[in-house]
Each structure stands twice: as C-alpha cells, then as structure tokens.
Amino acid sequence: MNATVLDGGIGDLVALVSIVLFAVGLKRLARVRTARSGNALLAVGMLLAVVLTIAQTGVVGWPWIAGGLGLGAAGGVVIVLTARATRMPEIVARFNGFGGLASALVALALFWREVVEPAEATAAAALGAVPAGTLALSVVIGGATFAGSLLAELKLRGLLRTVGGVPARAVVMGVLALAALALAGASLFVLEDATWAVATILGLAAVSALVGLLLVAPIGGADMPVVISLLNSLSGLAAAAAGFALGQVLLIIAGTMVGAAGLILTRIMCTSMNRSLVAVLAGGYGAVPAGDAQEYTQVTSSDPEEAAMVLEAAGSVIIVPGYGLAAGRAQHAAAELAGVLSARGVDVRYAIHPVAGRMPGHMNVVLAEADVPYEQLVEMDRINPEFKTTDVAIVVGANDVVNPAANDQPGSPIAGMPILEVEQARRVFVIKRSLSPGYAGIKNELFERDNTVMLYGDAKGVLDQLTSELQGAPV
C-alpha cells in the first residue's frame, strides 16, 4: 500500500494538483476578499483526491465505497441545511469530532485487516514498527478529538455548564497517559493473540476518549476558543498519523497543514489573553480572591427608558458584544438598535475582542449572520484609542474582556490580558443578567465605575426595549 501514491505515473500528478489546490486554497481562505474562493478550491482539491483514490483502489469494493460516500454526503448536506445560522459554531465543533473519529476508525480498520483478521503476527511485525506506532497515535489523537469536540459542542449549545475542577485532574491525566502507552505497546508489539489485541486496542480508544473529555471538561469562558482551535489542530494531526500508518502522502500533507493552521490559531488565541497554553489547559484561573473582594458596593443601575434618553443625545456609540450576546441570540436585536441609532445620525461601531465568545472569531460570525456591515466591526487594537472620544459604550454580555483590572491591578489573575478599554467612554451601559463573575471568577471593576450604568436583564429583551424607546423618541 505504500506505493499507492508514490508509484509514478498519472496518479502522482493528479495528487500533486490536489496538493497545490490545498495550498492555494488555504492561502486564499486566510484573506477576506478571497476567502470564499479559497474554500471552493479546497473542495475541488478534495474531490479530485477522492476520485483519484477510488481509481487507484479499484472498483472491487464499490458498493461499500458508494454507500459510505453517499451516506456521508447526504448527512453533511442535511446537517448544514437544517441548522439555524446561529448554530454554526456548534456544527463546526461537531464536524471536527467526526473527522477525529473517522481517523481513529481508519486506524482501527487497518488494525483489524492486517492484525486481527489474519491473526498471525503482531501489528509491529505485520505493518512495521513506525506505521504501527502511528496507527496507535491516530487512535489516540482521533479518539481524544472526538470526545473533546463532542463535549465542546454540548458546551457551545449551553447544554452543559463548565464542570468545576475535576479532582486531581493532572494526576488522573498522567495515569491515563501511562495506561495508553501500556495498552498501545501491548496491542501493537506484544500480543499475538487476536482477542487480547482487540481488547487492548479498544481499551486504548476508550482511554483516549476519556483524556479528550478531561481535557475539555473544566475549560470555559474566554478559554474555549483556545481549546476549540487546539481540537481543530488535533483532528488534522490524527489524519496525518493515519497517513503515516497507511503510507498515504495526501493524508500526511493535508492533515499536517491543518495541524499547523490549528496551532497558529491556538497561539493567536493564547496571545489574545496573555495566557500560556499550559495555563489554559490547566483550567480556570487558579485561586479566586477571598470573599469580600467580590462584593460590589457602589453599582448604579437603571432601566432602558433612561438609558434611551442618554442614547438620544449621543453622537457616537460603540457596541461591545460578548458570549452573552451569542447565547441570548441577541445579535438581531443589537443590529436593529444599531440601525435605529444610525438612522438618527449616530456613529455606530462594534468592538470585537479576539476571544469574545466561545470560538475563534465567534462574534464576527454571529454579527455577520444579523447582516451587520463588515466595516462596522472594529478589531481591539484599532478601537481602543477611540473609546476616549465615544459618548456611549454598550457592553452586551461581555465580562472578563472589559475588566479594567487587567490594566490596573498587577496582582489580578487576568493582569496583562489585553482588554477593550470601554471604561474610557463617557458613559458605559452594561447589559447583563446579574453581577455574577465571568470565567475568571473575579470582580469586574467596570461595574463600579462612576460612568457605568447596569441594565439588568436578558440581552435581547433590553436591546429590544432600547430600540422601541428610541423609535418613539423625536429625532
């Protein structure tokens, strides 16, 4: 099988065309103007690769191939077409899990075909030591990606709260890692007996899934984008590992490119929070300050009616969305308020923090879905100097990413994290259900500032009220 792509002739050239399409496609996908064509190029490259592989494999197993392809294609189309636009981030997490599981299953299928069914020799003897090792890697990475992505999807859907500290998580993970090593070694190099080989490789898959669950379980808030991009990277690496086991160059190339891309995103997300990957994966922000530091003493709150009067007099408004906006499906309400304000001649923009929301670029996707013009979305570095000259900042469901403690208090758990400096605006409205802390578990100084007014309630409800108050007001 090592020869499938490398054995010269027309097949190699077709594979090369696919590889070029992947490279050009990824490049274009990373630029705003060319992104859609980049995605299309990737798809064409993939189609070409599939046709090539089928041609090289031969038509002996065609009912299976056609069945699997047909079923999968139909499933993919149905999932995407029936999903509401607001569900896109969850869908991405689910597909990521499917990709990971598929790689693990490919490795298992290879194991069954070469080791279990002939029942003659160990995997290391039948396949060679390195392919056998990468086979196990594919099972491990794929299994962990699947379980982790599944959990991430449940969290994105809001079906599952962040599980606070798993007891002795680091120790448990260490034990599991050792167990995985032992199981992999036993199934690949030692056990010739098919029953035992099956038991150990399935054990390996189960342990990997458990590791994936433990990896994602305690992580929430602004740390979620890091984990999601890490899972994305892992699904690519799982495919690359399967490529090594099978000796298929296309899998190695495409899988590794995805792995590298995912790692870049992971790094960008970590930088956006001034946190190391290790700190993120450890879960939480460590020790939370003692009780009384959490108490709020001088919080001003108001209602939409009064807030609308302030907005009537404003010349410039910056809307600062956070996960609360996405969770409350309030993006249309926000866009509507922005529309009414714009119609009154107010300069309206949105300030986008790189880790606002639960996945990389979450706010961009959510607001685009509500037809917010792209030009109104301003990145953190460009919008921060503008808050000083802004009349009103409206914070919708964001917390840690607007906490001035990151700049003011060197001892704070979030010290040094780049934030949106909303507190510099003349007036700040914070739309929030309660004063409960964000993922970092700390008090938000912003809520006590003199220029801050809390508007308690659900994001969509408050925004709708603001809009209707403004519509009733004289221009």
Binding site: A35, L105, G128, M257
Partner: protein
C-alpha cells in the same frame, strides 16, 4: 528506516512549515471560517477509508472502514458547505 518512510517524514516536516507560512497573518474576521475550512480538509482521512475498502471480502474491518468513510465524508461535505454559508453571510465574493 526505509526510503518510503523517510520520504513521508520529509513530507510531514515540509507540510508543517507550509501550513504555518500560509496562514500566519489571518484577520480575526476569518478565524472561524479558516478553522472550519481547515477542519473540512482534515476529513482527508476519507481517502484512507476508501483505500481500505478495495477488497471483495466482507469482514469487521470493512464495517469499520465504511463507518469511517461516512463520518469523514460528513466532515468534508458538511465542513465545506458550512464554511461557504458562513462566508456568504460575510458578504465576501466567490
């Protein structure tokens, strides 16, 4: 270490550099679509499943490979579609 394996290793290292260089400066707007498009690409593992299905005899490995093929195809087809749909809402041109 035989020749094929060595070539695979070359390919792996170079692909890592390539992937890294291709998307170093990516604007925040595109974080989700890039992830989602790259994710669809990771469904490339379907080629592995196809290559394992080129046999006439039906066995447990066939079943595993078919399930893998179906899941990977969901990943690929769904992934590219969802990315296109997302980019469509961004108002970027095809």
């Amino acid at each position: 270490m035989d020749g094929t394996l060595l070539v695979s290793l070359y390919v792996f290292v170079l692909a890592a550099f390539l992937g890294y260089e291709l998307i170093t400066k990516v604007p925040p707007t595109l974080h989700t679509p890039l992830m989602s498009g790259a994710n669809a690409l990771s469904g490339i593992t379907l080629l592995g499943a196809v290559s394992l299905l080129g046999v006439a005899t039906v066995a447990a490995s066939t079943v595993l490979a078919v399930v893998a093929l179906a899941l990977a195809t969901v990943n690929v087809v769904g992934g590219f579609l969802v990315t296109d749909r997302m980019l469509g809402t961004f108002g970027t041109k095809r």
